[in-house]
């Protein structure tokens, strides 16, 4: 394809563009190095302090240099192509910088705080100025609240998804549920907290408990579970359902024994990812669980703490010791979320080959 051998007399326009002059493959690297050197020189000459500005200068020089080179050698269209390529790379770097900066900073600040003591002690009788204390009470409370929320949200969510996929058939109720699931995904966590506050605490006159917090988490978790389960159920091949029904199996048993087991890997993954999403919710906890420094293992009675709430409270206390604890709590939280994510992906991968035919 690269050379046209058919008509040597008259080269076609296509072949002329293919054989146009091109910059060698190492040009971007060279330009990058040049841009960095130039940025360093400019930075030194104008004595710019911030390293961030040096990086930005380098990026600008790189994009401009690439564009001008391509413009001179390869022509306008190729130059524009190159310009966009550089911009996409720059956007990528720009995005990675803060995101990995965040992870790195949290880990480096938090790793020094975490110890066995930190994980196994509460904040009982520890004033903000003192070092010591730990996340044990918050960790226990968060795990209980999330477990309760999962207990409510997973069955309701999965059944709703079953309704949408197996029984909905485009009825108006299914359409309404589907639309409101989407809308519910966007309900801010603080609004969910306010709702539970009005309904559960102000109208039904209940206490501030971990249970109230888990009710708010349920609202936040439901739409995520419904959406992911629905996607998974849609992936189950129709032939399986038809085969089962043709054998005379009732519809509900078909769903319970054929459809759900086929999709169970995906459903589990979805639930785990939903847990990972709600485990870090702070705003509703701020209003509902009241927060305590003591260990309270009963989510139905008395105030509890919560890991994200703990991070916020320690940050707000404002002393170096408490802020160090905040970083420690944040690291524990991130570790939990990452663990849930990895386990979820693991389940997805482990179950995937069986589902594919």
């Amino acid at each position: 394809m690269s050379t046209t051998t058919t008509s040597p007399r008259r080269p076609s326009p296509l072949s002329s563009t293919l054989t146009e002059r091109r910059l060698p493959r190492w040009t971007p690297l060279a330009t990058l190095l040049g841009a960095i050197v130039l940025a360093v020189v400019v930075g030194m000459v104008f004595s710019i302090q911030s390293k961030l500005q040096w990086a930005l200068l380098a990026a600008i020089f790189f994009v401009l240099g690439q564009y001008l080179l391509a413009r001179l050698v390869e022509g306008r269209r190729q130059a524009k192509n190159g310009l966009i390529t550089s911009l996409v790379w720059v956007a990528f770097m720009l995005a990675l910088l803060p995101l990995f900066g965040l992870l790195y900073y949290t880990i480096s600040k938090g790793i020094g705080v975490i110890s066995v003591d930190f994980l196994t002690h509460s904040m009982n009788e520890i004033s903000p100025n003192q070092t010591g204390g730990g996340v044990y009470h918050a960790l226990i409370a968060t795990l209980e609240q999330v477990a309760l929320a999962t207990l409510f949200a997973a069955p309701i969510g999965i059944l709703t998804a079953v309704y949408l996929v197996e029984y909905g058939n485009g009825r108006w109720l299914a359409k309404a549920v589907s639309f409101f699931v989407d809308v519910m995904t966007g309900v801010p966590s603080i609004v969910a907290g306010l709702f539970i506050l009005t309904f559960w605490i102000m109208i039904l006159n209940m206490q501030y408990t971990g249970f109230a917090g888990s009710l708010a988490l349920t609202i936040l978790m439901l739409p995520v579970v419904v959406r992911s389960t629905e996607e998974m159920l849609k992936l189950v091949p129709n032939e399986l359902r038809e085969a089962s029904l043709a054998l005379g199996v009732p519809k509900w048993l078909t769903v319970v024994r054929v459809v759900l087991p086929t999709a169970i890997g995906g459903i589990t993954t979805g639930v785990m990812l939903a847990i990972a999403r709600i485990i870090g919710e702070t705003a509703p906890m701020l209003m509902l669980v009241f927060g305590t420094d003591l260990i309270n293992t009963n989510p139905f009675k008395g105030p509890q703490s919560s890991l994200p709430l703990y991070v916020y409270q320690q940050y707000s206390a404002g002393t170096p010791a408490s802020q160090a604890r905040a970083w420690g709590g944040a690291l524990v939280l991130i570790a939990l979320v990452m663990l849930l994510n990895l386990v979820a992906r693991g389940i997805a991968r482990w179950k995937a080959p069986k589902a594919s035919r």
Binding site: N81, M184, V226, L247, P250, L253, V256, G280, A330
Partner: protein, 354 residues
């Protein structure tokens, strides 16, 4: 889905132990008598299990609708209570006085302004970068690297907002000092970046916008990348065959296909930025000043105001916060509903699946 609601009936429903021997049992039960008529006109047989299960699943769907309705109803009831006690105009008042003793005067104006401005800053910063990153993952990066990056973006989307808030308050804010001074010096003429109080702590709406931008970046990227990957390969290859450069392929076949998807991804990000509480509450030093100088400290957002005022508010003060929460609920409802409608409309006329 074209599965009949009623399966052919049996006298003995198959039990749980094995599905394989179901037909044998069915045929033996029907015996010698002609079973054809009963299978055709056998609509009357309704199993308890079927009825229970479909009832339970339909019931769950209804529970979900009831929750949504209950959120709207209960918040509205308390809000009406609060607004009727409000001495000022709820929509235009700047103050937020809900302490006992003093006359109740509160309004949503400054809060709504702060919410919109910070979210707008976040959108302006995050969406172009997110599109760039999504393009990078879907079209520019080497394939193996792209898959790993996809995972990383998903992981980052799961980092809790309180961690972003902590990082924003303790790392980003000190580093914004120089940026703000620079913006003030060279872009002060735009009014927006002018600082009334140069050198003040940059706990401003602009810093909030930046931390929100970083927060919504992964989610916008993830959704946009999904859309980019759905672009029919045929379209791209057709463009390539006509001699298009990579950028021309993207401009002529990828972006037109993905336009509505990009819009809805941005609106999902916007919805998240509007409702974000903790990252704002940690970064901002709130004040009820309405100012377009976004690098000056101050301003307030609805969600942040609820979180910071909640501890002190009692009685009608709480109702006032609930009223502001209702406003936030309605705003996010409109934004998210709009985004979903755009996606739904796109599904209908994108018949291209190659």
């Amino acid at each position: 889905m074209d599965i009949p609601d009623t399966a052919p009936p049996h006298d003995v429903p198959p039990t749980n132990d094995s599905l394989a021997d179901a037909p044998r049992r069915g045929s033996s039960a029907s015996g010698g008598e002609p079973s054809t008529t009963s299978t055709i006109s056998g609509r009357g047989v309704v199993r308890i299990g079927d009825r229970l299960f479909s009832g339970a699943s339909r019931g769950s769907g209804i529970v979900l609708l009831v929750i949504m309705a209950a959120i709207a109803v209960f918040l509205t009831i308390r809000s009406v209570h609060a607004i009727s006690a409000d001495q000022g105009n709820f929509l235009t008042t700047f103050e937020w006085n809900t302490q006992d003793g003093a006359p109740l005067v509160f309004g949503i104006a400054v809060l709504a302004f702060g919410t919109l401005v910070s979210s707008l800053v976040a959108m302006l910063l995050a969406v172009p970068v997110a599109i760039g990153v999504a393009l990078f993952i879907s079209h520019y990066a080497p394939r193996r690297m792209a898959q790993a990056l996809g995972y990383v973006v998903d992981l980052l989307a799961a980092v809790p907002s309180i961690v972003y808030g902590l990082w924003g308050a303790l790392f980003l804010v000190p580093h914004m000092l120089g940026v703000n001074a620079w913006l003030n010096q060279y872009f002060g003429w735009t009014y927006i970046f002018k600082q009334e109080m140069p050198g003040s702590q940059p706990r401003s709406l602009f810093s909030v916008g930046i931390i929100l931008a970083i927060m919504i970046l992964p989610i916008v990227t993830a959704v946009t990348r999904e859309i980019f990957l759905q672009v029919p390969k045929m379209h791209e290859e057709a463009a390539l065959a006509l001699g298009a450069t990579r950028w021309e392929v993207i401009r002529t076949s990828v972006l037109p296909f993905a336009r509505s998807g990009i819009i809805s991804a941005s609106m999902l990000g916007l919805g998240r930025a509007l409702g974000e509480t903790m990252a704002v509450a940690t970064v901002l030093s709130p004040s009820l000043i309405l100012s377009l100088h976004i690098t000056d400290p101050g301003g307030s957002t609805i969600a942040q105001n609820i979180a910071t005022q909640f501890g002190e508010a009692l009685g009608t003060g709480r109702d006032a916060l609930i009223a502001s929460g209702l406003v936030l609920f309605v705003i996010t409802l409109l934004v998210n509903g709009g985004a979903r409608l755009i996606i739904a409309r796109r599904k209908e006329y994108s018949g291209a699946n190659a």
